[in-house]
């Protein structure tokens, strides 16, 4: 029951007018950017990074957590009304949600997704309360080789399991690791990949990388694809649900939560797989299977609950291990480092007040989001009428300002532009962005852990595979990497096993590819 006591202490810290105001700001901004396709919570958190260095760590984290949760709510609004997912975790919602909206049931779809998100978010946050301290306690006992293995498992997860293409995921990860090693070698003091430029000796600041890839890259991408027919306004009205909607929604909500949270909590989770699984499960379990494909409310309720539960779940490895499994969590870790706090297993021991205040703020933010989204859904939908040039001009302005503010040197602006072009090229060639940013942030850590393990054994390579945790991780990595081969062999022997990879549903994998390719607008590009 220590956890509950600490949580109550966290509530005590959060319930100050200033913190509540910041939470409100966070969820409002989060919903807004979630609604707008292409502008996700990750980009927003990256843009706000330099500004939050002036805030206290608690305030900054509350702001980011609000944006993170808010993005999940906002994304579903766009999915339902526009059939263009606001962010990748809402791809599946669009399948049934948009059909419901076209059939004049937009209000019910929005209501079931908002209430489902709230329930899943609350249960998921409770899951953090009970699971995270246990994981942290376990993680403290891990040595460098085991920790190294877990990081490598995370790398495999974000490259091979989450993305559509292993090769592209791996390429993106390597680009990220390369950017991560720029600077002075911390053991020998040599300069690496600096090209003789003194400005690069300190390494490339994570802010510049994140803003360049997410904000500038996306702005360039949109500028290259600016012209696109506008959609019609779908009349929304105030979200509400009838009795039958409630009775058809509550089970999918709970099932979605159960699927979403564990996937998020794994070091190789993510929100896309559980939403897809939840959709397929609901389709099988539904009493109205004929309605699927024509706007079944279960197909909205389940995946929406799953994506919020998994968003909550991703905070477990982030807080307990210092490992991010989505882009927003990765940038939140960068923010922690910016405040001089080292993320990792010791975070909970060293900064208990900060962690518990953050978790308490999640409960509060989640409640605020329900209040913001249920009555105000029509207002949020109006955001879609903002002309894109205005939006992206603002984004580029904030991006340049943020990049310049880090070190106040014009060199960073050139770097920003170069990274923006890299981000554009990655979107153009369908490389996922997440492995890159995870590589940049975890690269230095994985290098340190690897060299520590080698130093312990005096350079003997067997030092890298110490302990049962490491063995399990390496086995999982091998299975994940060799999966296409295994499933190929299986289908050749069985003759008909068609499930290769995480997407068993016809509409799913394709949409997933697009979502992963930087949430691109036109499917033909990817």
């Amino acid at each position: 029951m220590d956890n509950i006591t600490s949580l109550i202490g966290g509530f005590g810290d959060v319930l100050s007018p200033m913190n509540l105001l910041i939470a409100l700001l966070g969820v409002t901004v989060g919903t807004a950017v979630g609604v707008l396709p292409g502008i996700g919570p990750a980009m927003t958190v990256a843009l706000l990074l330099p500004i939050t260095y002036g805030l206290a760590p608690v305030e900054g984290l509350i702001l980011f957590a609000g944006i993170f949760y808010g993005g999940m709510y906002g994304g579903s609004t766009t999915s339902i009304l526009l059939n263009t997912p606001g962010e990748s975790a809402s791809v599946v919602t669009a399948i049934e949600g948009n059909k419901m909206a076209k059939a004049g049931r937009a209000a019910q779809a929005l209501a079931t997704s908002a209430i489902g998100s709230f329930i899943a978010g609350t249960i998921g946050t409770l899951g953090i309360v009970f699971l995270m301290p246990q994981v942290a306690k376990f993680a403290i006992s891990l040595g460098a080789p085991e920790y190294l293995a877990i990081i490598l498992l995370t790398f495999t997860g974000v490259t091979a399991v989450l993305g559509a293409s292993r090769v592209r995921g791996l390429a993106s990860l390597l680009v990220g690791l390369t950017i991560g090693v720029v600077g002075i070698d911390f053991v020998t003091g040599q300069q690496r990949l600096t090209g003789g430029l003194p400005q690069l000796a300190d390494g490339i600041d994570v802010v510049v990388v994140a803003v360049g890839i997410f904000a500038v890259g996306e702005a360039l991408w949109v500028a290259a694809h600016l012209r696109r027919k506008a959609g019609e306004v779908i009349p929304v009205g105030r979200p509400w649900m009838g009795r039958s909607d409630w009775s058809r929604s509550w089970k999918p909500w709970l099932r979605g939560t159960l699927l979403g949270f564990p996937f998020g909590a794994m070091p190789a989770g993510g929100a896309e797989i559980p939403t897809l699984l939840s959709y397929t499960a609901e389709k099988k379990l539904s009493k109205h299977p004929e309605e699927f494909g024509h706007g079944a409310i279960e197909g909205v309720a389940g995946p929406e609950a799953a994506n919020n539960a998994s968003a909550a779940g991703t905070l477990v490895p982030m807080l307990a291990l210092g490992l991010p499994t989505n882009a927003t969590a990765a940038i939140m870790l960068a923010a922690l480092q910016g405040w001089g706090i080292e993320p990792g297993p010791l975070l909970l021991t060293k900064e208990p007040a900060l962690v518990w205040a953050l978790i308490a703020s999640l409960f509060i933010g989640n409640t605020m989001l329900l209040l913001l989204n249920l009555p105000l859904a029509p207002a949020w939908a109006k955001l879609l009428q903002i002309p894109r040039p205005y939006l992206y001009a603002g984004i580029l302005f904030f991006a340049s300002m943020g990049a310049y503010a880090v070190n106040s040197q014009p060199f960073d602006l050139w770097l920003l532009l170069a990274l923006g072009l890299l981000g554009f090229a990655m979107r153009r060639f369908g490389l996922p962005v997440l492995p890159l940013i995870v590589g940049v942030i975890l690269g230095p850590l994985v290098e340190r852990k690897g060299r520590q393990s080698l130093q312990l054994t005096g350079g003997d390579i067997s030092g890298l595979v110490g302990g049962p945790v490491a063995w399990v991780c390496y086995v999982l990595i091998v299975v994940a990497l060799a999966w296409p081969l295994i499933s190929l062999l299986r289908s050749r022997r069985g003759g008909g096993g068609s499930d290769d990879g995480p997407g068993p549903d016809g509409a799913g994998p394709d949409a997933l590819v697009n979502a992963r390719a930087g949430y691109s607008y036109n499917s033909s590009e990817a």
Partner: protein, 130 residues
């Protein structure tokens, strides 16, 4: 010659359409209905759905008029598009709906109606919502 009307899917658009029909009858000219939506926004309230345009077509057919309904989804400026069509089609009068806009709103967003009134080479009939 042709009567050109800028149609939007709301009461203002209906008023403009009614006035345009009357005008086309009076002049016994062809009626050109244009619905314009921007291509740099995700959703445009001025874009008319296919059903709405079909309904307009049915109504106009019953009225025994020579007409054309055109949907334009490129460009970012309704005034420019409408004036461009007017110039190319040799339009004798443009019918537009006029909505109230505060001075500040006009300063920030400009007024498509104002630009059409000032820049058109032909007479403009501005209609208020019924």
């Amino acid at each position: 010659m042709t009567v050109l009307v800028g149609f939007v899917p709301n009461p203002l658009g209906e008023s403009a359409l009614t006035a345009a029909v009357a005008e086309a009858r009076r002049r016994s000219e062809r009626l050109l209905v244009v619905n314009m939506s921007r291509d740099d926004v995700l959703v445009d309230a001025r874009r008319a759905g296919e059903e709405q345009l079909d309904r307009v077509r049915r109504d106009l057919e019953e009225l025994d008029l020579e007409f054309e309904v055109r949907q334009i989804a490129e460009g970012g400026d309704a005034a420019e598009v409408l004036l461009d069509v007017a110039g190319r089609e040799g339009v004798s009068v443009i019918v537009i709906g006029l909505r109230h806009r505060t001075p500040v709103g006009k300063l920030l967003l400009g007024s498509a109606a104002q630009r059409i009134l000032l820049d058109a080479d032909c007479p403009v009939l501005a209609v208020k919502a019924a």
